[in-house]
Symmetry: C2
Subunit: 427 residues, 2 copies
Amino acid sequence: MAKAKTSLTVTEHPSILPVAGVQWGVSYAGIKASAVDADNTLQSETPKNDLALMALSAGTVLSGVFTRNAFSAAPVKIACQRMLAIANSTHQNPIYLLINSGNANAGTGAAGYAAAEESCQSLAAVAACDAAQVLPFSTGVIGQLLPVKCINIAAPAVWSQLSEDGWSQAASAIMTTDTVPKGFSRTLIIDDITITLSGICKGAGMIRPDMATMLAYVATDAAIAQADLDHLLQNAVQCSFNRITVDGDTSTNDACMLAATAVSSVTLSPAHKDWPIFQSALNDLFIDLSTSIIRDAEGATKFITINVNQGLDVEECLQVAYTVAESPLVKTAFFASDANWGRILAAVGRSGLVDLDVELVEIYLDDHLICDQGGTAKSYSEEAAMAIMAQTDITITINLQRGDIHQRVWTSDLSLDYVRINADYRT
Amino acid sequence: MAKAKTSLTVTEHPSILPVAGVQWGVSYAGIKASAVDADNTLQSETPKNDLALMALSAGTVLSGVFTRNAFSAAPVKIACQRMLAIANSTHQNPIYLLINSGNANAGTGAAGYAAAEESCQSLAAVAACDAAQVLPFSTGVIGQLLPVKCINIAAPAVWSQLSEDGWSQAASAIMTTDTVPKGFSRTLIIDDITITLSGICKGAGMIRPDMATMLAYVATDAAIAQADLDHLLQNAVQCSFNRITVDGDTSTNDACMLAATAVSSVTLSPAHKDWPIFQSALNDLFIDLSTSIIRDAEGATKFITINVNQGLDVEECLQVAYTVAESPLVKTAFFASDANWGRILAAVGRSGLVDLDVELVEIYLDDHLICDQGGTAKSYSEEAAMAIMAQTDITITINLQRGDIHQRVWTSDLSLDYVRINADYRT
């Protein structure tokens, strides 16, 4: 995954680089097990951390994008509201992002909203700050009330653990069905000063982000104005988290946060000569994070890149790409390593494009042309196609030959383990 | 499944009633195995019939609806063209529907078109008719050329088998991944004469019909004018085949045919007093046929009815219903018999309805209210919900409380066997 690029140093997980102005603390709160008994003591013997706290130093500018699912979770609503207030403030105060796994606090009505609010207040009491400086995030089972007592009890512990070196532990603490923690860093030298970009994310199922993925936290020590940071985040998300799908199921809790702590002496804006390099480094980091979700997708055995080229507009390219990416029949064929490309063709055909001339459509597996003129390409070789299907990483390229727009989407296959994981998740 | 209704006699498969004017023949042609060697002799020892011929007597009026998949198969294109010519004719000649399983002849370009045409010609030679009277239909693997030689050889055999009692054998011959043949009949007494309605269909995967399902053939011995028959078919399909989904994958070969042989002395039209009864019987037969596909869906362990009520229009009701019906997470929860209703809520939330007030949305499992006011309903009982989820037949009802339109869709769960079947299908 490491890519050598001009002026960029890529550092892979698990050595996520610290970012000046960012601290992480983690703790076990027993949220999934609701393992707090009447005496307020924890029951579990070998706990997995399920609470993380991201502390951003005063002066940090924060940007965020959130799910468009109409049933957005209580913490998403509260975090959104506070983001607006913070963006309009002078950024004088530290900001705390309080994140729990094991419970999404979604579909929990007024009681869920109160629980999210209470969790912020308990952290604020420990941090001696206003609850308005605390943004809540939750991920896990939908429809069960957040056991906020667990968080109240763990708040002092997570606060006491705050450290600049806490990124990796945080990447683990926010995991649900993820099998590996996900984090990446990049450094750039700008104005002779080393700038760091680090990010972590979680997600493996219920992945079809619409504005953002389940949860992602990215920070840099550069100083960037609110409007510029918002713009950077929107762009980065469009080519990364908004281009992945595991199962088409947009989560109720998607959130992606980008912080610029301004602790380094570098100030960046579109007027800076190195702005395009910084933007490109940020986009690459976002692509690393989002594709790491696909590589860790529930039950996934394949990493599939879908290129749709020569479309009329972005919408129709994405329509074709997502129809192919989310077709259960295409996904099971990839799981079987079976070059059953007729299923790709059928998915393109049903994607709803107006006046699609199927005679012009070309379909490639990697560089092997398998379909043109409405049928099997002359170049098609079953042996070559099966060899490509046996790979872990496979690229499908679909040339529509009716425009000059292209889009790229990443997805995984549909395996027996996907069904097993999702049939077992709540029990 | 038998429903007693005024003036209707319901007869269940396998005793599908003959319809005067309709004959079926079946034969083994070795299409899937391409089991014809250089000497043109068949290789298989225990063949499953894979070729069916429906013969409609002269005077029959025929209506049809076909897939909207842009990559529609060669036989679909030919059948469509011939339907237009037949509809414009005086219906003086018999019509032959030649149907093979084991190969879809889709994604096969010009060669596939020629093969479909050749199969019609070989039947026409045996039947001593014009090839324009023969409509081809294919179902099976996409992207492999139809081994037309197999059909040419089997044409005399399928012709010699023609019989009014061939419906059940035909229902078996058109099966692919289906585990049971599907057929139903109804009789009505109109003008003191018994009218028969019989139909068969096939389908288990790649099911999200758009105009029709994989393949369905329905006939009556009443006399009905072309325009009225077309209208009847459109209506029947809208409440049946166009309301089912297994995997969201619209096939390249969907076709649904309705024939009125006029052999009985009853002539029906909208002016006839019993027209509504006939229409209702036809719709019920179509619902029996289409829901039998869901009951036999690949790997299915559950039969799920989704009602969306109180929507603004048909489109938004279907948007919600299909988002829930095709959510892999909802489907795996049903497979697990797990009342993880948060996944239903998340699917409703991402279905894209404009200005949806989630506080108003009510979700029921059967008659048990599980979600209202954005969270768990006060009436919710985990025990009751789990008892419902343990059933084979489950109804989800979603009340949007923003209009007075309702729609109903049927679907299946997503099981380990669904993945196994579709990972093994081609090999």
